[in-house]
């Protein structure tokens, strides 16, 4: 009995409660007419879509730069890469990697600029990050309208100028990652392996000297300073890493979803990712890959299951409203936990 109790304590009550809640959803599913296999597969697919975006939060959390509410900035870089890839007509795996390769330089530049702002506002990063994120979405909206893209699949029909709000990549690189694996439409092996690869890189990085320096900057800046670490430089590195991962994350998301969503779509994207990592047990200055994996799975699981179950139970479509309540409720829950600040 004691052993179970201490085990739960290390897991953290919130996680246990949410895990039990999710489990109950899977149990109820068949009784309200949902196929258990499809439900599980849906959850896994959403996991694959979102995991890298959640992973992108890690570097900044470790370096003490807070939860990256400015995630939209990295997303915008990814969108630029994606759009260029389609403009160039790249398809399949080439299109996917092309998008990533072209997004990276933008991500580095954006990340660097972003870090300059964040380095000047130590202590108030999260609020400012939120608004930097919002402003960047707004500025990119203007960009989408005036940048000289020509691809017929992307610009408005009937001789309009400017990119469409939603661009289908069905004929380009949708499903590129999973295409080489079996059961592509049920279990996203490709995405999971890619995530595993990046997660492994993250884990490895934080064991290197630079990674440990980054952790030190976040955990104990004075100590880091005393050992000769340039705090601002390390923070900048972490911000650039986070932004790059976010750019990669959105491209993976798009290739699974099948659409590139421009304009106001990235506006609120930071919140679900942050909810997920907090649910996974991370705090404002500590996050492990395990947090990312568990958190994404739990969060996406609940987000997929609860609306479907309740919809079938009450015979009304309340998905959108329920999603708002659930995802924000979970963030609130995580924000109001004591411990781990």
């Amino acid at each position: 009995m004691e052993k179970i109790k201490s085990y739960i304590e290390t897991m953290g009550w919130p996680r246990v409660i949410i895990a039990l809640f999710l489990l109950s959803m899977y149990v109820i599913a068949p009784f309200v007419g949902l196929d258990l296999g499809t439900s599980l597969s849906d959850t896994l697919i959403r996991f694959g879509m979102n995991a890298i975006l959640v992973l992108s939060l890690m570097p900044m959390i470790y370096s003490g730069t807070g939860l990256n509410f400015g995630l939209p900035l990295g997303v915008e870089a990814g969108l630029i890469g994606a759009v260029i890839s389609v403009e160039m007509g790249l398809t399949g795996v080439l299109g996917f990697w092309g998008a990533i390769i072209m997004a990276i330089p933008f991500a580095v530049v954006f990340g660097w600029g972003y870090s300059q702002i964040l380095n000047r506002v130590k202590g108030g990063e999260m609020m400012i990050a939120t608004y930097v994120g919002f402003s960047s979405v707004a500025i990119m909206c203007i960009m989408w309208l005036i940048l000289p893209f020509k691809s017929q699949d992307m610009i408005w029909a009937y001789g309009g100028s400017g990119l469409r709000t939603t661009i289908s990549i069905e004929n380009y690189w949708q499903g590129a990652l999973n295409s080489i694996f079996p059961m592509a439409d049920k279990i996203p092996f490709g995405e999971m392996i890619f995530f595993g690869f990046l997660a492994f890189l993250m884990w490895g990085f934080f064991k290197t000297k630079s990674g440990l320096a980054m952790k030190a900057v976040g955990a104990n800046p004075k100590f880091a300073l005393a050992t000769g670490v340039n705090i601002d430089k390390v923070r900048t590195k972490s911000v650039i890493m986070s932004t790059m991962l976010a750019a990669i994350g959105i491209i993976v998301y798009q290739q699974s979803f099948g659409f590139i969503q421009l304009y106001l779509a990235p506006f609120y994207m930071a919140f679900p990712a942050i909810a997920a990592i907090l649910i996974g047990g991370a705090s404002v200055n500590k996050a492990t890959v395990i947090n990312v994996m568990i958190g994404t799975f739990l969060f996406q699981g609940i987000l997929t299951m609860t609306p479907s179950v309740i919809n079938n139970l009450v015979k009304t479509d309340m998905s959108e409203t329920l999603r708002i309540i659930i995802s924000n409720g979970m963030i609130l829950y995580a924000l109001t936990r004591k411990g781990g600040k």
């Binding site: 000047r120 506002v121 202590g123 400012i128 939120t130 402003s135 500025i139 919140f271 708002i324 924000l335």
Partner: protein
């Protein structure tokens, strides 16, 4: 003398920067001075109550209360009910306020309770809280009303039989406050009653600061631990500050909506949080200090920016759509700028503090 000037500049850097931007943009936009003045008069009368409701939580150390959205939702629920019951005119407004009062108090208590559990990150928590309660509000208004909550006025219900329509015409209470007492100066129309009500709120805030409760809140805002050891019921007082702010916000939202005359059931309250906070930040307030001049001055600056930037954008670039996005960019960019400048100012203040301490230590502690 030079130091004083420098201090003034640093203290008010945000409104000064914004003012410069505005002055540069006015000629580009091509809008006339008279038009702008009249616009500012209506926007002041429309928004002041809401923005002023942000002051008290700042005094109590709760930061910028994005949770005024909760108050706005309470006010809107009040308006939905009086529209359903067809109560009109001044009676309608008063009844809407009366109905939203208990709702606002409850939401304020809930909000305060949640924020107490998130000490140190109140602002970001209040943003998320706003989103969350918005979901609950949707649940009630989009699914509950007409269903579990009986509605009699079919005109405001969606065609599917339950749920409130996206936009409700408030013509029965439109401008009731504004038009009841009007002052005309030259070509400008001033809604006197509304201005008087706002004035009353200002007096209330000034008076409140001097009461024991107000002093308690200031103490908590300065240092929680010291306040606790002085015997102040910290948790309860913090919740009280949020309750007051939420109630004021619900009244403010009703004033706002009666001026506009239409309620966007699912949208009107969303932007209110962002815009009101943008306004008070631009007026020079910070998460730690906010005053009435900050609120009122901020409204003028923010709304000037709001009105001018799409026109300026359109004149510069030639597309109204781009002008719109430009306005969004400016609104959020300005908040980011204000927050950055505020943080920078805090750094300067801390540096000055530390220098003072060091100087005192060096000159030998004279006690």
């Amino acid at each position: 003398m030079k130091n004083k000037g420098k201090k003034f500049l640093i203290n008010n850097i945000v409104p000064i920067v914004i003012l410069i931007m505005i002055v540069m943009a006015i000629p580009i936009s091509g809008l006339s001075g008279g038009y702008l003045v009249q616009e500012m008069i209506s926007r002041l009368s429309r928004n002041s109550f809401l923005v002023l409701s942000l002051i008290i939580p700042v005094v109590a150390g709760m930061g910028l209360n994005f949770g005024i959205v909760l108050g706005a939702m309470a006010g809107q629920l009040g308006l939905i009910f009086i529209t359903d019951w067809r109560i009109v005119g001044m009676e309608g407004i008063l009844l809407a306020v009366l109905i939203s009062l208990p709702i606002a108090i409850l939401l304020g208590i809930l909000g305060g309770y949640i924020l107490n559990k998130a000490k140190g990150r109140e602002m970001i928590t209040s943003i998320i809280m706003g989103f969350f309660i918005n979901g609950v509000y949707q649940l009630v208004v989009l699914y509950g009303m007409g269903n579990i909550i009986p509605m009699t006025n079919k005109k405001i219900i969606l065609s599917r039989g339950y749920g409130i329509r996206n936009a409700i015409d408030l013509k029965s209470i439109r401008q009731v406050l504004d038009k009841s007492m009007v002052l005309k100066i030259g070509e400008f129309t001033i809604p006197l009653l509304t201005i008087l009500i706002i004035g009353a709120l200002c007096l209330f805030i000034v008076w409140f600061r001097k009461t024991k409760l107000g002093q308690d809140m200031r103490a908590i805002g300065q240092d929680i631990e010291i306040a606790k050891s002085a015997g102040i019921a910290v948790e309860r007082t913090r919740i009280l500050s949020i309750v007051i702010s939420t109630v004021l916000a619900s009244i403010g939202q009703i004033i706002f909506l009666q001026n506009i005359g239409t309620m966007n059931t699912y949208n009107s309250h969303e932007q209110i949080g962002m815009f009101s906070i943008a306004a008070i930040l631009i007026g020079g307030a910070t998460a730690a200090k906010a005053s009435i001049p900050n609120a009122l001055g901020g409204i003028v600056l923010f709304h000037l920016m709001f009105v001018i930037s799409p026109r300026a954008g359109k004149e510069l670039v030639g597309s109204a759509q781009i002008g719109e996005f430009f306005r969004v960019f400016i609104s959020y960019g300005v908040i980011a700028l204000a927050l950055v400048l505020h943080q920078w100012r805090r750094e300067q203040e801390n540096k000055a503090e530390r220098k003072k301490m060091m100087d005192m230590q060096l000159s030998g502690g004279e006690k």
